[in-house]
Amino acid sequence: MNVPDDLRYAKSHEWLRADGTVGITDHAQHELSDVVFVDLPAVGKVVKAGEVICVVESVKAASDIYAPVSGKVVATNPGLATNPAFVNTDPYGEGWMFKLELANLAERDALMDAAAYRAATGE
């Protein structure tokens, strides 16, 4: 599995980039497989770390996506409306989901680094 070193990771398998961009990990997309719809959050939505922020639909099931940190949604990925499979094919690139304006930078530091996430997923 691909676990980029420059990202932080939540136990619930979301990644967070330094600029606030969030997506799900390669491990998570592999577990879900065949993503067919991403129900993105509304821009402006305010969430607390650990809250359900949006839903990813695979062929088999709907899965909750959690906010890795607290903040406000400032952008969502328009490309996922026509190409939800980006979540599978490019989870750290074209498959990004939304961008948060962080409420508390300390929450980012509390997330796992790549080595810890690799260990947590048995990589």
Binding site: F37, D39, E57, V59, K60, A62
Partner: protein
């Protein structure tokens, strides 16, 4: 993730893991939901060939001169229509006409019958039937003795020739008993996908060996191991009801749209009075197929259905149709809203999305005869 410790395993469990199957709990069994992906496996079955482990399904054997009369009193279809080597889809009802289980019954000898029942219903079915067995009939639950494989797809007939060394395949709904590689097998020409195909039952101890032979014979036809995920999308496109989702003890076969498999003329059977009345007076609700309009999340079970600002029902089955590329589902709807073309709305996480009632089946052009 569910705890797999309490789940039963089929004789092919280790093979699934070896072949890369992702295991999930289903009806008390630890089963592969997919290997490479549901989409992939779905299309393999629609275009070429796939093989499913159906060892979790149950096998009952009924024997005796009076077995036919008894089975006709227990089941909705008419077993007297079956010659030896033929089978039919049928339903077992409670006294209220509600569905306990749907199953395939084969006449494997003049006075011997094979019933293939749903995995999650083996104990319940046997507990219902066993106390009702009259003298002169022997009923056995031999589910643990058998493995089962469903080989499904437009290339199934070619596969059969290769697998059996050129034996004659049974016609649709027929069954043959033959030895392949020294293993005695039942091969019934039926399935749950809408494509041509066979269900293979044999001794559990030979399951791994037979799966190997099935895959080897299917290699040139592009056979893929398939999981329960594709099994569900394939059957949903065909609008085949799934017991527990679309069939229930509270719904009759007439309401479920499988009245074709009910013979009201054959004499009395459990639930008949209710069905006869429904047939005469009409039903209030009917299991109806729908598809989503435009880009929407796929519907799932138990989503509310709306029409003109009022809730008119909820989804039973739902998901994405890989063949149609949109969300589809089945729901009991009042008959006035069950007409194809009727616009409805599905509530998905608090938002209503447009959908339309469709004629069954949702997928056309399958190779099942």
């Amino acid at each position: 993730m569910s705890d797999s410790a309490d789940l039963k395993r089929t004789p092919l469990h280790a093979e699934h893991v070896r072949l890369g199957g992702k295991m999930i709990g289903f009806g008390g069994w630890d089963m592969p939901v997919q290997y490479t992906g549901i989409m992939d496996e779905h299309h393999a079955v629609r275009k070429a060939l796939g093989v499913f482990d159906i060892s979790h399904m149950g096998q009952f054997f009924a024997k005796g001169a009076d077995a036919a009369a008894w089975l006709n009193a227990m089941l909705t279809n008419n077993v007297n229509k079956l010659a030896v080597g033929h089978g039919q889809y049928t339903l077992m009802l409670n006294e209220r006409g509600g569905v306990i289980d749907d199953l395939i019954i084969y006449r494997i000898a003049d006075t011997e019958w094979l019933l293939v029942v749903n995995a999650a219903k083996i104990d319940e079915d046997f507990a219902w039937l066993n106390p009702r067995v009259p003298s002169g009939v022997a009923l056995e639950n031999r589910s643990d003795e058998f493995f089962g494989l469903a080989v499904q797809g437009p290339r199934a007939a070619e596969w059969f020739g290769k697998f059996t060394g050129g034996k004659t395949a049974p016609a649709r709904n027929g069954i043959v008993q033959i030895e392949v590689g020294g293993v005695p097998l039942f091969l019934g020409r039926t399935g749950y996908t809408g494509e041509d195909g066979f269900e293979v039952f044999g001794p559990a101890a030979d399951a791994v060996k037979v799966l190997g032979a099935v895959l080897a014979a299917g290699a040139e036809f592009g056979i893929k191991p398939c999981g329960l995920g594709a099994r569900d999308t394939l059957r949903m496109e065909m609008c085949y009801p799934l017991n527990g989702n679309d069939l229930s003890p509270e719904r009759t076969p007439i309401e479920a749209g499988v009245g074709f498999f009910v013979d009201l003329e054959k004499g009395d059977f459990t639930g008949r009075a209710v069905l006869a009345e429904q047939k005469a007076a009409g039903v209030k609700e009917r299991l109806t197929a729908f598809k989503m309009i435009g880009a929407t999340p796929p519907p799932r079970s138990h989503y509310a259905i709306w029409k003109d600002g009022a809730q008119i029902g909820e989804t039973c089955s739902g998901g994405l149709s890989p063949s149609l590329g949109c969300g589809i589902g089945l729901a009991y709807l009042p008959v006035e809203f069950a007409k194809p073309g009727t616009a409805i709305e599905i509530d998905i996480r608090g938002r209503r999305f447009p959908a339309q009632v469709e004629k069954k089946p949702l997928h056309r052009g399958g190779t099942a005869g």
